[in-house]
């Protein structure tokens, strides 16, 4: 059925000479990485007492209430109960930051809050504390439909992210799209390729044996195609995150997810 649709889509594209590649995944065929996993790994994610990501969520809850920086304020002093104030927030990140004039991801937003409101030092990318706070905030959006990219100001940045997604690079000369749009129903060295919808970040990745951010995952993928990875927090990575999240618009959040 899918191949028939692809052929029809291809014919239509040739007929209309659209610049869009034939390979972009139709809305109805989008699948979370969850659906590619074994029943054992799914069970691990679904039970909060076996999902190791919940360890970071617990730590994040403690950090949320603890005072930090020269201002002596905790996250909770401004945002109160995260269950109410943070619900749905992670589902619309990366979001446009007016002061910076560009999109920022959830980790950057937490660090901006730390520097401007708490007068504290920003937390290092992939540090236990930043992952814990991100996981705690993201967990409040569980089940909420992703709505990243609704803000019209983000349009040029989504386009840049999409360009990067389609760009062949590295010694293997591969674009993200070559695997995650064109071959997501196949396997690479025994592992499912998946469609690359970032529905559950930060994720507990069994291969990492720890929690990690979407940028860590992207850097891993970029190293895999033997290209030079962008630094953590680089605008290119944020734009790619933004494109991926807007591509997953409408899909439910499942953070902290478990992935193989």
């Amino acid at each position: 059925m899918r191949s028939v649709r692809t052929i029809i889509a291809a014919i239509l594209l040739i007929a209309t000479a659209s610049p869009l590649p034939a390979s972009e995944i139709p809305q109805g065929e989008r699948r979370s990485g969850f659906s590619f996993m074994t029943p054992e790994t799914r069970a691990m994610q679904e039970d909060d007492t076996s999902n190791p990501g919940m360890l970071w969520v617990l730590d994040g809850e403690t950090l949320w209430k603890s005072k930090a920086g020269a201002a002596g304020k905790a996250c909770a002093d401004c945002h109160d109960d995260a269950r109410a104030s943070m619900k749905g927030v992670a589902a619309r990140y990366p979001a446009f930051d007016k002061a910076l004039g560009r999109p920022v991801n959830l980790e950057q937003r937490i660090n901006l809050c730390r520097t401007t409101h708490q007068h504290a030092t920003p937390l290092a990318y992939e540090s236990g504390e930043l992952l814990a706070l991100t996981a705690f905030v993201a967990e409040q959006s569980r089940g909420v439909a992703i709505e990243t990219g609704s803000d019209p100001q983000l349009k040029p940045f989504i386009d840049k992210g999409r360009e990067l997604f389609m760009l062949r690079q590295g010694q293997l000369n591969l674009a993200c799209a070559n695997c995650h749009d064109d071959n997501w129903d196949k396997r690479l060295a025994g592992s499912a390729i998946t469609q690359g919808h970032p529905t559950g970040y930060p994720i507990y990745r069994l291969e990492w044996q720890t929690l990690g951010s979407l940028q860590r995952r992207l850097r891993g993928c970029i190293a895999g195609i033997r290209a030079e990875a962008y630094d953590y927090g680089a605008p290119e990575l944020v734009e790619l995150e933004l494109y991926l999240m807007s591509r997953a618009k409408g899909m439910p959040m499942e953070a902290p997810a478990v992935r193989p």
Partner: protein, 106 residues
């Protein structure tokens, strides 16, 4: 940043076989890895886990370097009486953590 997640049924019927699940936060550094400069990263693992049910040991496990980070240990026991499960993890570098959970047996 050590914390545990424990799953013990809150209530059970006398004689029921119940499943107990525990997850402990730990890096489980094997002692076989080296840094970029070639020095061995010292071993740092949990070496022993035990569970006592109202003071009586019902489960014990020894852990080794091949066990993944954040060990998830699950086992079964028979619900005999209301009371408390006490869990203990002991490891390298003086690691020692405890947790407990209560059960009501009808």
């Amino acid at each position: 940043m050590a914390s545990a997640l424990i799953n013990v049924p809150a209530t059970a019927k006398r004689g029921d076989i119940i499943e107990i699940k525990t997850l402990m936060s730990h890096i489980m550094e094997t002692g076989y890895r080296r840094t970029a400069t070639g020095e061995v990263v010292p071993r740092d693992i949990i070496t022993s886990f035990s569970c006592r049910y109202n003071g009586v040991e019902v489960f014990r496990a020894d852990l080794f370097p091949a066990i993944a980070a954040n060990p998830f240990i699950t086992f079964f026991t028979v619900a005999t009486e209301s009371g408390k499960f006490e869990f203990e993890w002991i490891g390298d570098k003086g690691f020692s953590e405890t947790a407990s959970a209560s059960i009501t047996v009808e």
